[in-house]
């Protein structure tokens, strides 16, 4: 009989460590982006990053909700749309803005207030949708909440349509769309930089929250095994509500930058963007937060590249073609599911 003491564990070699980091998908996307840079040029490249950042922010909400309750929240795109309208309301009604703000200090204050109010309001909206539309159906067959989500989507669209009408309306571009800075010989719009930086900061904050904090652990363990999480003392209802709050707050932030970047918004905004953000989430690996971020940027690139190469009408088709090709080779998306793995 052998004694069961520790077998000498070899330190992982550099190569092993490298493989364990699983950088493959990231390097692949970076490589494709680099080639794309040459093809579409710096301006379109920045445009792709900006649009991708918005898709990524929205995609996070899809992936978080799917990760925790396996629901494809079809209303999430419309939550994003409501975010854009809320931002417009805050800027025009609460802060009295109607165009670019010159003073940087003033601009910072306006943006800060706008983001804070919009994100909190949308977080509450998301948590309320969960509470009243999805929670009562938690134990119903999976089709029921899915249909409900579509219903919620229509409700949000109709409410905004009733209030603001069916046509696109202007929203103040408080960051001057004409303002540009020179970086490495390339002139880049300030609003682009602002969008990308904001999105990346929010993604990092989310990643830290999920990976380092107690509520993050509660979310991951709820995603992984709901009963076991309950046995640890996790209040499942509260944790799911917080997940909706955070995902919807991020969609709210995406709505803010959408308005700042494009300058006009419409009640149908959420359908298109939601579809693409959802595609981004699936592309990255639904349930996986980093995957959703990565997927968002990929979708941004595909769409802008198709447009830049003169296939604008094919933009949508290109997005889905990329999705299908990716799923053929990696059925669980670029990074696979991660938030919590079902056992």
């Amino acid at each position: 009989m052998t004694t069961t003491t520790t077998v000498l564990s070899a330190r992982p070699s550099f190569v092993e460590t490298f493989q364990r980091l699983r950088l493959g998908p990231y390097l692949f996307v970076l490589g494709v982006a680099a080639i794309d840079y040459v093809v579409i040029g710096p301006n379109q490249f920045v445009n792709a990053l900006t649009i991708g950042a918005i898709y990524a922010l929205v995609a996070l909400g899809y992936t978080m909700v799917y990760g925790i309750i396996e629901l494809i929240n079809f209303a999430h795109g419309d939550v994003f749309m409501v975010g854009a309208f809320t931002s417009m309301f805050v800027l025009t009604q609460a802060l009295g803005q109607d165009g670019p703000i010159d003073s940087p200090g003033m601009l910072a204050v306006v943006l800060f207030i706008n983001f804070t109010i919009t994100m909190i309001a949308l977080g509450i909206l998301g948590a309320a949708i969960e509470r009243f539309a999805y929670r009562p159906l938690r134990h119903a067959p999976r089709l029921a909440p899915l249909i409900t989500a579509i219903g919620v989507s229509f409700i949000l669209q109709n409410i905004i349509q009733i209030i603001y009408g069916p046509s696109p309306i202007n929203t103040p571009q408080v960051i001057d769309p004409a303002a540009r800075v020179e970086i490495g010989g390339v002139s880049i719009g300030v609003v682009n930089i602002f969008t990308i930086v904001t999105a990346v900061l929010l993604m990092i904050a989310l990643q830290m929250l999920v990976s380092r904090t107690k509520i993050g652990r509660a979310m991951r363990s709820t995603a992984s095994d709901r009963d076991a999480a309950q046995l640890m003392g996790v209040d499942i209802n509260r944790t799911i509500a917080i997940t909706f709050f955070i995902g919807s707050a991020l969609a709210g932030a995406a709505g803010v930058v959408q308005g700042l970047y494009f300058g006009n918004i419409q009640f149908t905004l959420g359908f298109q963007a939601g579809l693409k953000a959802f595609t981004a989430a699936v592309l990255g690996g639904i349930g996986n937060i980093t995957g959703a971020a990565l997927g968002g940027f990929v979708i941004g690139f595909v769409e802008v590249t198709a447009g830049a190469l003169g296939f604008f009408v094919w933009g949508q088709a290109a997005v889905f073609a990329v999705l299908i090709i990716t799923l053929v080779f990696r059925p669980s998306g670029l990074l696979g599911q991660q938030l919590g793995e079902r056992t």
Partner: protein
């Protein structure tokens, strides 16, 4: 304290091996639990006293797991009551009962596979705050040195035995008054089974009351003070562990004696 003044005549008074048995901490009275239309528990009455190790034995489908789930709040009885330290907790949700001192290491380990060993233990201490948590981690590591070596590893990559250690360690992190263990020895090697039962004794000696569900009736009756035999959702026998182990019916049905 129990304070309920209800004496169940069908049950023997506790004759605890270590003599530490005190007040009734856990009491089920005529508990009926259903899964939809399935009547899984058909009137379970049992009690656990402070400091005891009590075991539930019975064949597959007898209702052992359902009993534990009904105690820990994952399920709620449709009739009858569960009292914990004198309070009716029949309809208290599981996440609150953890705070009150009931910790349940469920059947099938149920560790969080994507969380590291350390994170799993931190989840065990979810209801608690403060520096003692680190001391508890040290305590669990001293019980299961293997876990210390693997603290940064994802739970899902542990071996079955290591996962079982983690499941028990995680349940201990809540510093429970009553620990519910559902088949802790399942799928383990004989050496590990010995080790697990040793640890159950140790945990109990340190003051934790244990309600143990086991297929391994032999071992369970050795370590326990008292036992209940379940069959199709009912208690068919309740006695001291020693008497149960000597009972010919029990020996035939659960100890593999012909």
């Amino acid at each position: 304290m129990s304070g309920q003044g209800v004496t169940t005549t069908t049950q023997p008074s506790s004759t605890s091996g270590n003599g530490a048995a005190g007040d009734v901490v856990l009491e089920l009275r005529d508990v009926h639990t259903y899964y939809g239309k399935i009547h899984a528990l058909q009137g379970i009455t049992l009690e656990v006293r402070e400091g005891e190790i009590v075991t539930l034995i019975g064949s597959n489908g007898a209702g052992k797991t359902t009993t534990l789930k009904t105690i820990s709040g994952l399920l709620h009885p449709r009739a009858g009551t569960v009292h914990f330290r004198g309070r009716d907790v029949s309809h208290t949700p599981a996440h609150k009962l953890v705070r009150d001192g009931i910790s349940h290491a469920p059947e099938g380990r149920r560790i969080f596979s994507r969380l590291t060993v350390m994170e799993n233990l931190q989840m065990g201490a979810y209801t608690r705050t403060g520096r003692e948590i680190d001391e508890n981690v040290e305590h669990v590591f001293s019980l299961f040195p293997r876990l210390a070596e693997r603290s940064g590893q994802k739970g899902g990559t542990l071996s079955g035995g290591e996962q079982q250690m983690l499941a028990i360690g995680r349940a201990l992190m809540a510093r429970p008054k009553v620990l519910l263990l559902d088949e802790p020895s399942l799928g383990l090697s004989p050496i590990l089974i010995q080790q697990i039962f040793g640890i159950i004794r140790e945990i109990n000696a340190q003051g934790t009351t244990v309600l143990l569900v086991e297929q391994n009736a032999q071992q369970a009756l050795e370590v326990a003070d008292r036992g209940y035999v379940l069959q199709t959702g009912r208690v068919i026998l309740a006695d001291t562990a020693a008497n149960l182990a000597a009972n010919p019916d029990v020996r035939r049905a659960y100890l593999g004696e012909i």
